[in-house]
């Protein structure tokens, strides 16, 4: 049954990357508990627009938890308090009437705030560009069934590949480390036979790029794993570490 609640929002407002931001307080009234968090923000923005104030800028696109574009820190939790949930899939039924909600952007040196809650996550693209691919050109590939892949391996690779690149792992990590993101991609491709030929090169360059971009160092706090909307496991980080040592000690990649 639909019910409505009233909320106080403390939202981070920042005009641009170079201008210092701060919190502003808004009231969200008559919010249906069936709404998603972003729909609640839509309602607030509609009111701000009508009141001749500038709406809150926030990133979002698919609103079904798969594109990875949305994400803010809700009361200290990236994507909010629900486990395995993106912000667009967080529903207001998880909040109570009268709650005060603090909404901040993902924060990391590698993620610059562009405006309000919108951040620049292109650093994650740069890491993928450093090696998060299999070097095959279009065409000329063998038949899809030519190389059997054990089901268990395919499933593990899929577990890692489920990453939506939202950056919540970085946002939740006390050290703003991107190890879960990188570990997931390295794992996916290191597990599959198709990715093995360039595994050493891949892990070396991806880790190197990650370090250059100003992400922090992993200290195994496991916040990333607990916060990841796709519940990607830190076993992927362990696998990346193995791959990294193997590449460093036994391959000719420098």
């Amino acid at each position: 049954m639909t019910k409505t609640i009233n909320l106080t929002l403390k939202v981070w407002r920042q005009q641009s990357a170079t201008i210092k931001g701060g919190f502003e307080t808004y009231h969200a009234s008559n919010i249906s508990t069936d709404m998603s968090f972003l729909e609640m923000l839509d309602v607030v923005n509609e009111q701000l627009t009508l009141d001749c104030r500038e709406p809150i800028a926030f990133d979002h696109d698919c609103r079904e938890g798969i594109c990875g574009q949305c994400g803010s820190v809700i009361n200290g939790r990236p994507h909010g308090p629900e486990k395995g949930t993106t912000l667009c899939q967080l529903h207001m039924r998880h909040f109570n009437d009268g709650d005060t909600i603090a909404i901040e952007p993902f924060r990391a040196k590698a993620f610059k705030v562009l405006k309000d809650l919108v951040v620049d996550r292109s650093a994650l693209d740069k890491i993928i560009q450093a090696g998060g691919y299999v070097s095959v050109n279009t065409g000329g590939t063998p038949d899809a069934n030519a190389i059997p892949v054990p089901k268990e391996i395919a499933e593990k690779a899929m577990d890692a590949a489920a990453c939506i690149g939202c950056g919540a792992c970085v946002a939740s990590c006390p050290n703003a480390s991107a190890m879960l993101f990188v570990g997931a991609k390295v794992s996916q491709l290191a597990l599959l036979p198709q990715g093995k030929p360039e595994a050493a090169r891949r892990v070396t360059f991806m880790v190197q790029t990650m370090d250059e971009l100003g992400f922090g160092n992993c200290s195994n706090e496991r916040e990333c794993e607990a916060e990841c909307p796709k519940e990607i496991s830190i076993t992927n980080i362990a696998r990346m570490n193995r791959e990294f040592f193997k590449a460093g000690l036994f391959s000719s990649t420098r």
């Binding site: 594109c67 529903h91 292109s122 993928i128 095959v136 590949a161």
Partner: protein, 637 residues
């Protein structure tokens, strides 16, 4: 205007090979002298940009999102078709071709569809080589499942995230080319205008969505991979940023728009539950493999579904279509759901839902097996509705999902503007009046990986392309038009928000140009849209400034185009005096309430030419010639 589809001659099976041979080649050293703009980074755009760069072309790729990994192709759940016949169940290129043509209600080109079926297998090979983790059997070989509109198992899948995995495959190939310096990536850019020089597509004017700057980019050809226009309906399963602006601008610059009224309503979506709702969520059609669709037998039965005994349930799809049952094509499933709800048998508070029940499948295969197949979909459903589908049947209702119509292209995927190519959902070519499940991913990747790399070379080899600069008058005037329009939107300062207008437009289209249409409603819709449009330009309120990250301004521009484009959809729907696939005009139906085609008069592509602001578009016809299949009344009984 004569519409020449340039379908190669000869037997159907040889057309593509023959055409590939006949297309002139560009030698590798010369390829790097050409520059190609690709707009959009979904399956078609990502695949095209990567493949063209691999060949040696210099590519500029644009996307509206913050990174090229987020386009809405990512949300496709169920799978991708390919005629591999790995299951030994009688599949073949011919069967996939036939299923697709028939599924499209005989309103697609034979030549294009056959090519699609031919390259479908290569797509799977390509994706596997990229490291896409498709589902596998214990023996390590690829697994398949069946899907709506087909009686063979030819759908490859990666859990419920097939679109995501395929897109990440294309994104990885694209990333590799970005790193190699062959693709220049421009994200958070929105295409605002297409620039023609001497009648050829030679560049773009884009808006930098972070700074608000208007940028100009020149090239030797432009490839639009900008997706569909389902968001004209406001509520659809498309992502929030999906829009028609790029395609509409091409249309205004002279590209013909084909079959805009062909929109697909997907049967298995989570029902609407409030006016504030911003989008609809699709549950993969694959659910219909194991889920049974039903409503209560009697009108007004408001018992909770577990209280309704077997004898009081009507499994209406199984009853009406014994051979396909719950796996009838999307349009048939959707229309039947609406019909049941219109009869008053709908489920839930709103009465606008039918049940999709897994009880029998769970007792047959066990909860684990069903969980393995659909676990993430069930989880998603529970997240949104707070109901557990393992215990309580899902409630579903149709929602706008895909648009078969799009910019008119020939066999080379080139529009009526030389040098403007259109790929994926943005073109009209392969799905006719209705698209089968698991075919959108196939088409996007086929166009991007396996068609455009050949056909663009043929264009370059046979075309004189004079040198241009972005400071010449065509670019300057396009940039000025864009700035003027932006200023105009910002200066109205009316009383209604952009979303408010969008919601009203969506309501009009859903009501009168949705699942079932009639002449009276369509005529009314046209007037309503016209008056809404004029109100928009007098009363919309767009806050903020242009040189800034301004999301209201972005939406305002898109809604302004939807308000024009919506009318084109209605005009096309009115002109098509038949029912076929996704276009169901109540005036044209069989006695069993099925779509009644008029093959004598409407076996054609309706392509519309922009005639100027406030003028009715001009109609052009491309007759569809069927040499290999016999046109039949689609029957899934």
């Amino acid at each position: 205007m004569h519409l020449d589809a340039k379908i190669p001659g000869g037997p159907l099976a040889d057309k593509w090979d023959k055409h590939k041979f006949e297309l002139k080649l560009i030698n590798p050293a010369n390829k790097r002298k050409f520059e190609v703009i690709v707009v959009g980074t979904g399956l078609a755009g990502g695949a095209a940009a990567a493949s063209l760069a691999e060949l040696g072309y210099n590519v500029k790729s644009f996307c509206i999102q913050d990174t090229p990994r987020r386009a809405h192709s990512i949300a496709a759940q169920g799978g991708i078709n390919a005629s591999k016949n790995y299951q030994n169940d009688g599949d073949s290129v011919w069967r996939l071709f036939y299923d697709t043509i028939k599924g499209g209600d005989f309103r697609a080109r034979e030549g294009n569809v056959y090519r699609l079926a031919q390259v479908s297998g290569n797509i799977i090979d390509q994706c596997v080589a990229q490291g896409v983790p498709f589902a596998r059997e214990y023996g390590g070989l690829l697994a398949n499942r069946s899907f709506g509109g087909a009686q063979v198992s030819r759908t490859f899948y990666a859990r419920g995230q097939t679109g995501q995995q395929l897109l990440l495959g294309a994104y990885s190939a694209l990333s590799r080319q970005i790193a190699a310096g062959k693709v220049q990536m421009f994200s958070r850019r929105e295409m605002m205008d297409l620039v023609l020089v001497n009648g050829q597509a030679r560049g773009l004017v884009v808006r930098n969505l972070v700074t608000g700057e208007i940028e100009r980019h020149g090239a030797d050809a432009v490839v639009l991979c900008t997706g569909g226009y389902a968001n004209a309906f406001f509520l659809s399963t498309n992502a929030m940023a999906c829009n028609v602006t790029a395609n509409y601008r091409a249309y205004q610059k002279g590209a013909l728009f084909a079959n805009p009224c062909f929109t697909q309503i997907h049967p298995t979506c989570i029902p609407v539950h409030g006016t504030y709702q911003s989008k609809l969520t699709l549950m993969s059609e694959s659910l219909r493999n194991d889920g049974r669709v039903w409503v209560p037998q009697t009108v007004g039965d408001k018992r909770s579904p577990d209280q309704i005994p077997e004898s009081d349930r009507d499994y209406f799809l199984e009853r009406k279509y014994p051979s396909f049952g719950n796996l009838v094509p999307r349009d048939v499933a959707s229309r039947n759901a609406k019909e049941q709800c219109d009869l008053g048998k709908g489920a839930g508070e709103t009465g606008l839902a039918v049940y999709l029940d897994f009880r029998d499948a769970i007792s047959r295969d066990g909860k684990d097996m069903i969980g393995q197949k659909y676990g993430n979909l069930f989880q998603m459903y529970e997240k949104i509705t707070a109901d557990n589908p393992y215990e309580k049947p899902m409630m579903i209702y149709p929602a706008v999902h895909y648009t078969m119509g799009g910019l008119w292209v020939d066999y080379n995927l080139m529009s009526t503007i030389p040098g403007l190519f259109v790929l994926g959902e943005a073109n009209f070519s392969d799905h006719g009046a209705n698209r089968l499940g698991a075919s959108a991913l196939m088409q996007g990747l086929a166009d991007g990986y396996f068609v455009i790399p050949y056909t663009i070379g043929g264009y370059f080899a046979g075309t004189q392309l004079p040198k241009i600069t972005t400071s010449q008058s065509e670019f300057t005037s396009a940039a000025r038009t864009v700035s003027d329009r932006t200023q105009r939107l910002l200066s109205i300062n009316g009383k209604r928000t952009v979303d408010d207008f969008h919601r009203e437009l969506g309501g009009i289209l859903w009501e009168y140009c949705g699942m079932a249409r009639n002449d009276e409603g369509l005529t009314k819709a046209r007037t309503l849209i016209q008056s809404l449009r004029s109100e928009f330009w007098e009363n919309v309120k767009v806050p903020g400034v242009d040189m800034d990250l301004n999301q209201s301004l972005e939406r305002a521009g898109r809604v302004a185009d939807f308000l024009e484009f919506g009318e084109l959809m209605v005009i096309d729907a009115l002109a098509r005096r038949e029912s076929c696939g996704g276009h169901f005009n109540e005036g044209f139906q069989t006695e069993e309430n099925e779509a009644l085609r008029d093959d004598d008069n409407f076996c054609h592509v309706a392509a519309w030419e922009y005639a100027g602001e406030g003028k009715d578009p001009q109609f052009h016809k491309e007759p569809l010639v069927f040499e290999n299949v016999k046109l039949t009344q689609r029957s899934y009984k």
